[in-house]
Symmetry: C2
Subunit: 389 residues, 2 copies
């Protein structure tokens, strides 16, 4: 681990959760909701601080209820009781899971009924219900008369703006990954299999101090790459290749998400120009990232530069997004997302374009919206395409 860059303290003081709860209850009051019901790891963690990789097991449902008054209540499998009791949550109700016939549904229904009948549940964009649909139908049956309403706008509005303590964790992950990218000339070489290149980069990120290399995708190809969401193929890196690595590494459960491009031995003028265009698109995004501007403004600022330079299109559907407890969070830099930028929002600027048939160029930086200029969390990419070898 890089000891020159001491990691921020893990966890949060209780005051952080109290503030999140207070803001949620303020929204709930205005929307006349009696309780919010959460089922996903990130929403549960946001209100409780409960951090575990155990959610990778799909077997057991987990529930967190945020009532209109008072602290959140956890309704969880017994296996999580010890870990949950270390958080600020006091009311922890458990059942032995897996259960033959009633995997927490009676316990959840009984608990929800204590708080009222109008229940907010995230049902909109970016949301999913982490429990079997059959069990959700049973829950609705048990709560006859209860009304489930969409809580996606509430949870998204809450999670959008990060506290300084949250930003510190993201900044640390960004700094560690920045240092790992700086080691690229020692990590990557012509003749190396892309599987091995990915492996060396994952190890370097861990050595630099991230907790997990949760996400690493990319690709290499002669004069550019065509796909940015794939694992490595086993192909050896060749002279004239352009390699992109796009990584979401975590520290204490918070993500960075940015990429870097590298050419090997040489790069054509065409590739260099594409790199330069997308670099200048990022610059335009940084210039547009001001409180009061919208995500659509960010999109247009970046897209304008790429369109002027003859971009052939983009199949990603957006040019960046929110970032925090998840690799990607709302909002999205699309032409239709009118979400207003506010200080404390952590966003990615991710301009990308096709510059030749089957060849794309993508850059990405992580920023915090501040009064005035945004703060870069990722050290910015080199202004010219780096060439290794």
């Amino acid at each position: 681990m890089n000891t020159d860059r001491p990691p921020p303290q893990r966890g949060f003081p209780e005051a952080e959760f109290a503030r999140r709860l207070e803001r949620a209850q303020d929204f709930m009051g205005r929307a006349t909701m009696d309780a919010l019901l959460f089922t996903t790891p990130e929403d549960i963690r946001y209100f409780s601080g409960f951090l575990t990789q155990f959610f990778q097991s799909p077997t057991r449902p987990w529930f967190l209820i945020v009532p209109k008054a008072g602290k959140p209540v956890a309704v969880i499998p017994t296996i999580g009781e010890v870990a949950m009791s270390r958080t600020w949550i006091e009311d922890i109700r458990t059942w032995s899971s897996p259960h033959p016939t009633d995997d927490g549904i009676s316990l959840l229904a009984g608990t929800l009924a204590e708080f009222g009948h109008r229940i907010g549940l995230p049902m909109g964009r970016e949301a999913a219900l982490r429990m079997p649909l059959n069990d959700f139908a049973r829950l609705r049956q048990r709560l006859d008369g209860a009304e489930f309403v969409d809580a996606s706008p509430i949870i998204q509005a809450l999670r959008l703006v990060k506290s300084e303590l949250e930003i510190e964790k993201i900044a640390y992950a960004c700094a560690a990954v920045g240092d790992a990218f700086d080691a690229a000339p020692e990590l990557f070489s012509v003749g190396q299999s892309d599987v091995e290149a990915f492996r060396r980069f994952k190890i370097e990120c861990l050595e630099q101090g991230v907790d997990d290399v949760s996400y690493l995708v990319g690709g290499a190809g002669a004069g550019g790459y065509g796909d940015i969401i794939s694992p490595p193929s086993g192909r050896a890196i060749q002279t004239g290749d352009v390699l992109i690595l796009d990584t979401g590494c975590t520290y204490d459960g918070y993500f960075c998400d940015f990429d870097r491009n590298f050419a090997f031995d040489n790069a054509s003028d065409h590739v260099r120009r594409a790199y330069d265009t997308v670099y200048r698109a990022t610059t335009a995004g940084l210039a547009a990232a001001r409180p009061g501007a919208s995500c659509a403004d960010l999109f247009h600022a970046m897209q304008g530069v790429m369109a002027a330079d003859g971009a052939l299109g983009n199949d990603v559907g957006r040019l960046g997004h929110g970032l925090g407890l998840q690799l990607t969070e709302g909002p999205s830099n699309t032409p239709f997302d009118e979400t207003e930028l506010q200080p404390g929002m952590v966003m990615t600027l991710e301009p990308g374009m096709s510059f030749a048939p089957g060849k794309v160029m993508v850059h990405e930086e992580n920023i915090v919206i501040r009064d005035g200029e945004p703060q870069l969390l990722s050290r910015r990419a080199a202004p010219e395409l780096p060439v290794i070898g």
Copy 2:
């Protein structure tokens, strides 16, 4: 990477997917379903071979349809088109996502309608729907007259039995992690922070050839640990501690899932006896793991040994589970799971018990059910608690 243990070839021949499809369509015929609809990364990957970490972004829904006849049809965001076109799937329909008002729902509804009105969707144990509930409601509205029926039993029955090519991948991940655990005396030491111990182990697993250390949980405590689902806390390892590490590492998208225990400098007789009890419970599980026996039989075989030795209980709710594309899959070794063991099923044997208040001991091995004795995929844990230092 350990070059003495060459990794299996990545991917599968088309015949593997053709067999999976044929078996699915056989089940569908008997259940008179017109199409199956899948939304989760693992179900989509099972039928298509489409492997990406991009599903960590919750923004876009992805769909795969398995019709009652013919090859699967992908209905996916444009960003996935290049990667999906490298699989055996031919019919790939895309839309630009995120979309302001219709995130694939019209396209999905139109495609489903081509195949009939009785649609199987996983809705039962272990299942979740990876799309917003609001969009699912819109889909049902668009498909007025369509009937959604639970396809969980079908997909679970299919994924339960692994092919030899799938088993090879799991075996490779197990072997790599086994070698990483063998390096424990060089990796872990008294005075080391558990954060650093986890980091060193993750790096060792990568060096040994796994693709990702997707899951690593555990804990250390004086004379034992109380919680097995948490990330490291920052506490330094001390003389007399027992450390457990439980890891799910992947190779080509397939998981191993097993743990190992280590004492530092010394271990009390009480801890050694607990280790021995749980070791013998594993032995009993191995002896019971025969085709025709049930998961409940596995549970009782292991639980019997621990109960006889005075176990204080177990808050995990099961003593092992299926393993493959996910860290945990059905079935579960519980008293109520009567799933019959069949050759080719990959299972974990995971006996665990409380042996003192707040102290648990858990072992885990990965096996394949074979005609006769099961095959161990994980090299078995040491018969006595290993002591480091």
